[in-house]
């Protein structure tokens, strides 16, 4: 079974002085990274809902994404300043784009100097591979960095289209013989607190909390059909992040047929966030 995870998108997980929930979510995301490494993953197929687009499906084709992102909302905090250095599996990216086209959708090959990597992708990859300071340094230290294949989240396409995009990525990876992990970077409920709060004040509203737990229970039970069936209602009632396209993406990759292990769940600035793992938990 291809290992997979749902991880949060919010930068608070990188705070120097985190709320307990932020710290737990960060630790759990690091655990996902450890497990992906233990599974011998070469490339992580990754969707971040914060790279939202509206035209076609953008596949990142730049071999290396290096830079610093200053978040347009969180710049006043330490976690609003994010250095990043990501290695992209460009062979897989191009193959993925070809498979998207072949499936009758529109792939858009993205290769632009200065392209702004979204906060969700940076946060997730920093936690999944905290020592991945770039291929050269990592090779010197003997560790094996992940490479990534990144696709955007088209908010005008149906969630089923995101499933088809994921399936195309899995086919492309299989053709190339990659050992694949699949990660969706997304929040759960999205009742963001609309004021500046201290970490200690952070909580999810009761109504959204009930919805998040209901969805996570179905995920724990491995009831994929139930999760998909409740997704539209969840999206409406809890304003789920990008209408929970993240789960549709994971489903399209064929990685959520079994029970998911909820490694952490809690608030991030009023939104709901969880780390969920599908696959073996052995190291």
């Amino acid at each position: 079974m291809t290992p997979a995870a749902l991880v949060p998108a919010m930068p608070h997980l990188l705070a120097g002085d985190p709320a307990p929930s932020w710290a737990e979510l960060a630790t759990a995301t690091r655990t996902v990274g450890d497990r992906l490494r233990a599974a011998g993953v070469d490339t992580v197929l990754l969707l971040s809902t914060q790279w939202f687009t509206v035209l076609g499906h953008q596949v990142q084709c730049d071999a290396r994404l290096r830079g610093r992102r200053t978040d347009e909302n969180w710049y006043r905090y330490d976690y609003g300043h994010l250095d990043h250095d990501l290695a992209i599996d460009t062979d897989l990216a191009h193959r993925w784009a070809d498979e998207i086209d072949a499936a009758g959708m529109q792939a858009r090959r993205t290769l632009y100097e200065g392209f702004p990597v979204d906060t969700g992708t940076i946060v997730a990859t920093k936690l999944l591979d905290p020592h991945g300071h770039g291929r050269r340094e990592t090779e010197r230290s003997g560790a094996r960095p992940f490479e990534y294949a990144l696709v955007s989240c088209n908010l005008y396409a149906e969630p089923s289209a995101m499933a088809a995009v994921a399936a195309a990525g899995v086919r492309a990876a299989r053709d190339l013989g990659r050992t694949l992990g699949v990660v969706a970077v997304s929040g759960l409920s999205s009742g963001l607190t609309g004021r500046w709060i201290t970490p200690a004040e952070d909580r999810v509203s009761d109504a959204h909390d009930r919805w998040n737990r209901k969805v996570l229970d179905a995920i724990r039970a491995g009831d994929r059909d139930e999760v998909l069936a409740m997704s539209p209602q969840y999206a409406a009632a809890a304003q789920a992040d990008s209408q929970f396209r993240a789960f549709a993406f994971l489903d399209g990759a064929g990685v959520v047929d079994g029970p998911g292990e909820v490694l952490a769940y809690g608030p991030v600035w009023g939104t709901g966030a969880a780390v969920v793992w599908w696959g073996s938990d052995s190291d």
């Binding site: 509206v54 200053t70 347009e72 909302n73 710049y75 300043h81 632009y112 702004p116 963001l192 609309g194």
Partner: protein, 326 residues
């Protein structure tokens, strides 16, 4: 020191068009004579920002090259530029929906924002090298007035935040010479994940903006940067400027835009307090991000009609260039 000046209820020009049943033909505003220049908001524009319009113009700041396209909208912007010049503003104040701030209303207080803005959604159309001046005194005054009015605000003083394509797009299209200082306001909403803007808060932000402009004695032109009907294609033709692919998303979207524009052309703007939410409901209009409401609230919902300088679709969204002179 700052001069405080209440904007008059209507200029001689707009007064002639006030609440007229029949829209008047557009005409450029007469240039104020020396000594006549007064502070306050001298004009407001609905100034949509599709990156396609910048791309189509091939300005030196933008890396991609085009063969044109969307001419009628761009001709509307040419007219806007002539009129804007005639108003002789000290500053352009822009509210645009793609500097998305989840918490509060932010104002860019960086004195000289510069860099390259590669647009994540349209990187093939928009990779713009920007370098402009902020009117920091006015920017800070808007933060203060917003706070005083009870809004959650933030002054952006960090150099590294990339300026979004909507802010750059509206400013470039209104003033491609970039020879006027700017104040840029964020959109406190998350149209894609979370929620639309609270139009009531945009009203408050508009009033706070006006107070700050009056307090600092500026002669300001406001740009509210929203498209209208907002359903659009999710794919693109091989040649982005292939105008044979350009049309309204459907008739209902077009008709919804025409109904709103008719109300704008008839005036007065107070009718838009009801018409804008109705239009949002009918067409998923980008005015849900609040820029148009901010603009009209800042101008005090003037008792005038608007001049529609152009209308056209961009990847099926409706876009209008409109002038209001209070």
């Amino acid at each position: 020191m700052a001069r405080v000046f209440q904007v008059p209820a209507g200029s001689s020009r707009s007064g002639a068009r006030r609440a007229a049943g029949t829209p008047a033909a557009p005409a450029p505003a007469p240039a104020p004579r020396p000594g006549e220049q007064k502070a306050g908001i001298v004009a407001g524009y609905l100034a949509p920002h599709p990156p396609h319009l910048v791309y189509a113009e091939n300005p030196p700041q933008n890396e991609p090259r085009s063969t044109g396209g969307w001419e009628v909208l761009r001709w509307g912007y040419e007219e806007l530029r002539r009129r804007l010049r005639a108003h002789r503003p000290d500053v352009l104040v822009v509210h645009a929906p793609h500097w998305i701030t989840m918490v509060g209303h932010h104002v860019n207080c960086v004195p000289n924002p510069r860099g390259i803005s590669v647009e994540p959604i349209f990187p093939h159309l928009f990779r713009y090298h920007y370098d402009f001046r902020t009117d920091v005194d006015l920017a800070e005054a808007i933060v203060e007035e917003g706070e005083r009015a009870g809004l959650v605000t933030s002054a952006l003083r960090e150099d590294g935040v990339r300026v979004d394509y909507a802010t750059i797009g509206a400013l470039h299209l209104a003033n491609p010479d970039w020879d006027l200082p700017v104040v840029s306001l964020s959109a406190n909403n998350n149209p894609y994940y979370y929620s639309d803007a609270s139009l009531a808060e945009m009203e408050t932000l508009g009033v706070a903006t006006r107070r700050a402009i009056e307090r600092t004695g500026r002669r300001a032109v406001l740009l509210g940067s929203n498209s209208l009907s907002h359903l659009h294609w999710d794919t693109e033709p091989e040649l982005p400027e292939d105008m044979s692919a350009e049309r309204p998303f459907n008739h209902a979207q077009y008709a919804g835009d025409m109904e709103l524009l008719q109300t704008i052309r008839e005036g007065p703007t107070s009718r838009l307090k009801d018409a804008v939410p109705k239009h949002i409901e009918a067409t998923a209009s980008e005015t849900k991000a609040g820029s148009l409401t901010w603009l009209l609230a800042a101008m005090g919902w003037p008792d005038v009609a608007g001049d529609v300088l152009a209308y056209g679709t961009v990847i099926a969204t409706g876009n209008a260039v409109v002038e209001w002179v209070p």
